[in-house]
Symmetry: C2
Subunit: 384 residues, 2 copies
Amino acid sequence: MTERIREFLRNRREDGPCVVVDLDVVRDNYSKFARALPDTRVFYAVKANPAPEVLKLLADLGSCFDTASVVEIELALAAGATPDRISFGNTIKKERDIARALEIGVRLYAVDCEAEVEKVARAAATAGVAASEVKVFCRILCDGAGAEWPLSRKFGCVPEMAVDVLEHAVRQGLEAYGVSFHVGSQQGNTEAWDQALGSASAIFRECADRGIHLSMVNLGGGFPTKYLKTIPQVEAYGESIFRALSKHFGNRIPETIIEPGRGMVGNAGIIEAEVVLVSKKSRDEGEVRWVYLDIGKFGGLAETMDESIRYPIRTERDDDHMAPCVLAGPTCDSADVLYEKEPYPLPVSLEIGDKVLIEGTGAYTTTYSAVAFNGFPPLKSYVI
Amino acid sequence: MTERIREFLRNRREDGPCVVVDLDVVRDNYSKFARALPDTRVFYAVKANPAPEVLKLLADLGSCFDTASVVEIELALAAGATPDRISFGNTIKKERDIARALEIGVRLYAVDCEAEVEKVARAAATAGVAASEVKVFCRILCDGAGAEWPLSRKFGCVPEMAVDVLEHAVRQGLEAYGVSFHVGSQQGNTEAWDQALGSASAIFRECADRGIHLSMVNLGGGFPTKYLKTIPQVEAYGESIFRALSKHFGNRIPETIIEPGRGMVGNAGIIEAEVVLVSKKSRDEGEVRWVYLDIGKFGGLAETMDESIRYPIRTERDDDHMAPCVLAGPTCDSADVLYEKEPYPLPVSLEIGDKVLIEGTGAYTTTYSAVAFNGFPPLKSYVI
């Protein structure tokens, strides 16, 4: 909680839950990444929080942008980024969206299979862009050990196949630019990059044997934000990544980029919500309390899915005795329960109408919210 | 698939996934409910699909409306429903929203604890409405056996407590109107209402012993729509519910209402989507295909959560050989995978750019979609 957010909330008069993002925190996070990895370009993962003010600040600070769609590319441009500072990082793209991005001037594309490479090549022809000006990097699978939210196998191919994918890109006239991976979201292990960098370096060597000289390793995201547990400092990630780069690439360290999203904006945001109901299901001794908020899984807290992310929650009664409760959202959807398998400790004195502050909610909240489920509006966002 | 939807899609030129809802199917569903349960009032669950055209049709047909928020109440009114045909069925309501609903003229409220009863009473005072004109019904827990999506314990209290809750309503000057329950979503067992009606009847008796005469049983929703498995006809539900009512209430059957949502609009809608990518993660024999669509968990198919709802998917190549694939959405979110634990059989000849039709998607799709996740717009909806 920052003094600026506290002050903003003190003066807010509107009804309903909201997230408030403090740009000073984002600025500070950007500096930490830039200092911790001085030779690495930062591509902010726009999907984490695409608020125009956030993008504008980061564009002004010199950040590049990792985008998932044409809309996100347009947002980055509107914030002041030039096309050469934008990567179309989604491995699942419609050919016409690639053509649109090429027309806009974006030249850096993620792929993870030959079919996607062919789409990029065809789109270049459609857009009238020379294939040789278009860079592709191949995403490889990574086991995500140590991450609080290990990724599925949705993105990437096995490292052996990546070499073929990159060679295919060369055959299509594209520039085979490098390799990317993602060590898993909310990665608490600073050493998690080591193994993937070993695979990346093997791909660099195998490609070189085929006459293809790669330039770049995209180290992905995974940098955590603080929820309940302490997390390592960004500096520790920087040091560990640099060690792993030196170990696997020796004195020929390639160009590198990182794509922080959660690590860039997570701790910059606080959600203020309201207790709508506190009740019990029976009069049995030991029956657990249910606490219902005016925000839930469909109102911006989608990452509580499977109780994956456990947010810190503060109330004005935190000095009182605490007891576990089931925490749920306001919709008529029985799946709209935030924490039940592991009930959440909240003050026993918590009452209907009390405000609660949900910390670490600057990332993956606003755009995740349902457009109108149960008639509830999407999460309101203020950037200060 | 109806001929009208087929024709509409044949002529559609816009890009991106969409759902098309055929009002003829909704009309037909309404008639079936009205015929199967002739003495029961139908309160359509607005949250299932709040499209103005759907609400207007149902209002014209004489339906009442079960609403989850003030916005849904306003939608029902705009569609032509009078306030006496609207129930505020969410057990989790802000006191100021109850006051607003009372001002609008809504007189029927769900509760499941004493605190919620007190909110209704206070809101009546605020709104200047006589408490005696305000009806509350108490929701009880129900085990949901037989449902494809059994509900959590989020809504309702144990039956023994309901009597106290209703007595508390009387003490507050409100009318203790009845009991509600929900047998679980996509309930395939037509007998599922029997046990809950037994509990309801016990509450009626216990209340009568305390001098409180209840009038109504809200039988909730749970009526299924057809996905892959065959489901019983609405008539079978009607017969079974009538038998259970007679068994538990004898010749003093109370007023009843049902709240179909999925059963009213589910089979009226079809989503058309596009294959964005087909790929494999390695060259291993037996490696499963991944098929990526331009719609996923955050674009309207939220009910694939935990692979709960398994939609029928049609392609133009369904005569070809089929093989299981992992089916995923288009976002850069690794949780945006529809079917993986149980891969989905699709034609081996399926190609990038092919259209797919996802059936049974008239309910719980449009409003569930994320407002802008990854820059993708919410699901487009056409009602014809």
